[in-house]
Symmetry: C2
Subunit: 322 residues, 2 copies
């Protein structure tokens, strides 16, 4: 059982320690990386030794973060995790830190406690919003680099202010971060606009694979190894495909099946106002947010689709109404 | 030559007149409609007779505006235009008002003067931002309906806060409008998320049509009558296709050719930081914004593509560099 701490307490803890490693979740996204590098930079202004650790190689498009914040080598004395909803999500190479995490800062309502102290606020659309508050509470002035990192976290986790987790506070923080020097245009283009030619062709195939159930209220889209081969898509090209099925008119629950190398399927569920994605994935050993959640399932595509449908019907009985 | 007026002066003018018609541009979008219905509602709070006029049938997805603001019949005594960059854009049925427009409120840098008095601010990402200031200057409290209309205008013209025309002020206004009761989640889903099945299939065909020139720095996408027939797409299904070619990695200039019923091509040009879309379309008798502009051309697709390429090379010489 973790001890809950406030923004002020988290700030106080971090200012009093040194030799800090900041852990991100695997398959890193803009929020875990933006949160980690902003906090890393802020703590470095005190002259502390701080670095960020990630199980995976950090995608090139985040180079404006990785290149701007020095990553010294040292013996860790304090372990912090950001945007990590479950110790399993640290990834294999960071599992060894699971029982050593002193402080975790997260915004996932489905957070599974593994840390000693926890700053959790599920009303925040992004962990980066909490990090912004912690940095401010530490008395650090947000510079252009921190602003880029924090803006990235907030923009990516709110679908560029489009999703239901966007609040007036989200917009006010974005305004302040732009004034602090965040290059919003460049970041938005890199995060939301740019698609490789491989991605464009993968997207076509994915759209063609969409199958509808429950009178068109649920839609399943598949990303197979064959599609990935044929399009020449890489890991980065996969990002942001999961919302596509839910974007089709009349769809309450949009599901993306992605076949992993080991044959298992990574399931991403997206919902509108009619259904709770985390409830659906909770029934399948996963979790996430009300509008966006995920889980992993084994079996054939047909078996996996049937399993997910069963969970949908259980979590959203109204979806089968005529 | 129009007389330029300030926000305060525009507010003063509008409060002193009655029997007001508010003109929108043809092929109406979220900004011209959001601006018109918000202003209409605000002026109605004074007990004035006000209505909105549009050459085209207003798409169903804007029903939350049209249904919320009564549209009385009366003899117009004052004509106002919003988000209309050129009198030609009023559309055929509203041409008769061209010389009768007392006040126009617009944010297009390419604005071609036709009105007696003009409130123009090209630094505003949306005309709705100016309307918000005018409504406030009139001393009217923004209610939930006005907030929905104004949020729609701001969100649609800034690509949901993604485009380069988004400023800290844009975000602050969005925050205030959400607090005033704007249903951001519902509006965003309707404006940016929902795609009909016809749209999804049209989008696939459009992506397949993309051709690259200038070493992949320019990309041309075609929407033909055949594609529209085959997909069963309607007018609403066309919206928001024009940015697709520019979103491909390495593309400086993205061009969409849309074949109109009369055989002419409606050209939409989108650019990143390397090129000026309004400069390109200016050479072709069109206009718009630095990142998004348009024009109309006659001829075969091949001829039209060649003409646009010539304009691109003239406006963006660096695009042909090796």
């Amino acid at each position: 059982m973790s001890r809950r701490v406030t923004v002020e307490k988290a700030a106080e803890i971090l200012t009093t320690v040194d030799n800090i490693v900041i852990l991100t979740h695997q398959f890193p996204d803009g929020d875990t990386l933006g949160s980690a590098f902003a906090l890393c930079r802020a703590l470095q202004t005190f002259g502390k030794k701080v670095r960020v650790l990630c199980h995976d190689v950090i995608p090139e498009k985040y180079e404006y973060m990785t290149a701007a914040v020095p990553q010294p080598e040292f013996e860790p004395l304090f372990v912090c995790a950001v945007d990590v909803a479950d110790s399993k999500l640290l990834g294999e190479s960071l599992q060894k830190y699971t029982d050593k995490v002193e402080l975790c800062i997260d915004h996932h309502g489905s957070h599974r406690e593994f840390e000693k102290q926890l700053l959790l606020n599920a009303d925040m659309g992004a962990t980066a919003m909490l990090i912004y508050q912690v940095i401010t509470a530490m008395g650090v002035t947000v510079d252009a680099v921190m602003a880029d990192c924090l803006y990235t976290g907030i923009a990516t986790d709110t679908g560029c202010f489009k999703y239901s987790n966007t609040t007036p506070l989200t917009h006010r923080m974005a305004a302040e971060l732009m004034e602090a020097g965040a290059n919003a245009e460049t970041i938005n283009r890199a995060m939301f606009d740019i698609k490789s030619r491989a991605r464009v062709s993968l997207e076509q195939m994915a759209l063609q694979s969409i199958a509808f159930y429950d009178n068109g209220r649920s839609a399943f889209m598949q990303i197979t190894e064959e599609m990935i081969q044929a399009s020449g898509a890489n890991e980065n090209d996969m990002e942001g495909l999961s919302p596509l099925p839910r974007q089709i008119e009349g769809v309450w629950v949009g599901v993306m099946l992605r076949q992993k190398a080991d044959g298992d399927y990574k399931i991403s569920v997206r919902t509108g106002t009619h259904a709770d994605a985390s409830a659906i994935c909770g029934l399948l050993g996963g979790g996430g947010h009300p509008r966006a959640a995920g889980c992993t399932l084994s079996g054939t595509a047909e078996q996996v689709i049937a399993t997910v449908q069963k969970a949908i019907h259980q979590a959203v009985p109204r979806i089968v109404d005529r």
